[in-house]
């Protein structure tokens, strides 16, 4: 007993020592310094997505302005915050308010104020979409991106610093994106039972909303059955992405994008905001720098052929900085 107690409290091999080290490692992992320019690029994509989303992709909230309030079914959030049923005026204000706030946020100015304004507007607009009897289950992780990316503060696309704040925000986005996969496998077990993998859920999805491209899948039923096993396996093992090398991490992200493209082709469902979240795993600032150098080169080419060199010159310092800044 006495020995056990001393083992808990003392020495490097003790339980507390181990716990301290694990917490320390977890803390270092959560706050791994990452490029501030990556956050700037991701924020730009997130805000651009918000505009496309409220105007084109997810418009059911807007139409709820026209639905009779008899169909309004407040969610917990609406009951707590006393949110009213939708009206045409309210949905118009939220839709165009989101667009204006996102455009302003894309300038990079007042990142917290504008970022959180976009977050409130977008969440409220989603709330209106979901409080008429149908919740889209793929749109929760994006709330984390909207809430936490502004915490980094000012971040420019050419910002060459690495920061712990950027690391934390990106890590939180990555974690919630992967939680979407992992916890959706749990939901399948909770609502569908372990036998979900052997059920005809995908057949049902294709029957109800299959694209013409997907009809042949019904003729070869084992394909959809097999797909359910692969999906469950992929979702359950999705957290493995955090221990993979950079190269394999990118491949896994690519694999998930292929999966989402296949799903879209088959049943015209895409988890759009979640796809933006998955970009947090990629070295976005390098792609942005590459794109900038191409643009400079293109513009230089128009100016009379000297631009190739100018483009390279513009691109290479960036590349060097980003590649070389792994060590602080």
């Amino acid at each position: 007993m006495g020995r056990a107690v001393s083992g808990v409290n003392g020495g490097p091999g003790s339980v507390t020592g181990l716990a301290d080290r694990s917490i320390g490692q977890l803390g270092r992992w959560l706050f791994t310094p990452m490029p501030v320019s990556r956050v700037a690029t991701l924020r730009l994509l997130v805000f651009a997505f918000v505009i496309v989303d409220v105007v084109l992709l997810h418009t059911s909230g807007w139409y709820h302005g026209y639905a009779d309030p008899v169909w309004y079914e407040p969610l917990v959030m609406g009951k707590v915050l006393h949110l009213p049923a939708a009206t045409v005026l309210l949905v118009q204000a939220l839709k165009w308010g989101c667009v204006l706030a996102a455009l302003a946020a894309m300038t990079g100015r007042a990142p917290r104020l504008l970022g959180w304004t976009v977050a409130i507007g977008w969440v409220w607009y989603q709330y209106i979409a979901f409080s008429y009897g149908k919740v889209d289950h793929d749109r929760a992780d994006f709330v984390v991106a909207l809430a936490l990316l502004p915490t980094v503060g000012l971040a420019h696309l050419s910002d060459q610093r690495r920061s712990e704040a950027a690391g934390f925000a990106l890590r939180a986005v990555q974690l919630s994106a992967i939680a979407t996969y992992f916890l959706s496998s749990w939901a399948k077990v909770r609502f569908g039972g372990w036998d979900w993998v052997n059920s005809a859920t995908m057949v049902r999805a294709v029957v109800r909303r299959g694209s013409p491209m997907a009809q042949w899948l019904l003729e070869v039923p084992w394909t959809l059955h097999w797909f359910q096993w692969v999906l469950m396996g992929a979702e359950l093992t999705s957290p493995v992405i955090f221990v993979l090398s950079e190269k394999w991490r990118r491949r896994v992200v690519g694999g998930w994008f292929v999966f989402h493209a296949m799903t879209y082709a088959a049943i015209t469902i895409a988890f759009w905001p979640h796809l933006v979240m998955m970009l947090a795993f990629l070295p976005l600032e390098r792609y942005a720098a590459w794109l900038r150098s191409r643009l400079v080169r293109l513009r230089g080419g128009d100016d009379g052929g000297e631009g190739g060199g100018a483009g390279d010159a513009a691109a290479s310092p960036d590349s060097r900085v980003f590649e070389g800044s792994a060590t602080p």
Partner: protein, 149 residues
């Protein structure tokens, strides 16, 4: 490299922990009403390999062709609600079919140039599936009906 102070790290960890607890609680015991902390249950229900897949739709009569039922899109663009939202309220609709009149009103607002709907009914189509394959047999039943008159 920019480092964070103790306070900045502490509140960030607290936020992350709170989010983790909420998302996990939502997945373990929550329901759709918990959004954004509702369970991630896309395509999570089990469908028997042999049975029927049901799909709900609406049929309407217009002022132009009274007495003739035609299928109408059950979409937000057309009636302000989508199919899943109507499917989720079948019990309430059956108890009070006059609710369907609100869909006709929304349609008139959203599509002011289209012919007015004078009657509307909710129809459920049961598509028979045997061993994961649709047999081609479809059964149709009328769940509720509303009449403007």
């Amino acid at each position: 490299m920019d480092r964070l102070g103790r306070v900045a790290k502490t509140w960030r960890i607290a936020v992350l922990l709170a989010l983790t607890v909420m998302f996990c609680a939502g997945s373990l015991v929550g329901n759709d009403h918990w959004w954004p902390f509702s369970p991630w249950r896309m395509f999570s229900t089990s469908q028997a390999a042999t049975g029927s897949v049901w799909s709900t739709g609406i049929e309407v009569q217009t002022a132009d062709a009274p007495g003739e039922w035609v299928r109408a899109p059950l979409t937000p663009e057309n009636v302000g609600l989508n199919r899943a939202e109507v499917e989720g309220r079948i019990t309430q609709i059956e108890a009070d079919p006059s609710r369907l009149g609100t869909l006709a009103r929304s349609h008139a607002e959203l599509r002011p140039t289209a012919a007015e709907w004078t009657a509307l009914r909710v129809v459920r189509r049961l598509i028979v599936v045997v061993d994961r394959k649709p047999t081609g047999e479809v059964r149709t039943e009328v769940l509720a009906q509303w009449d403007a008159r």
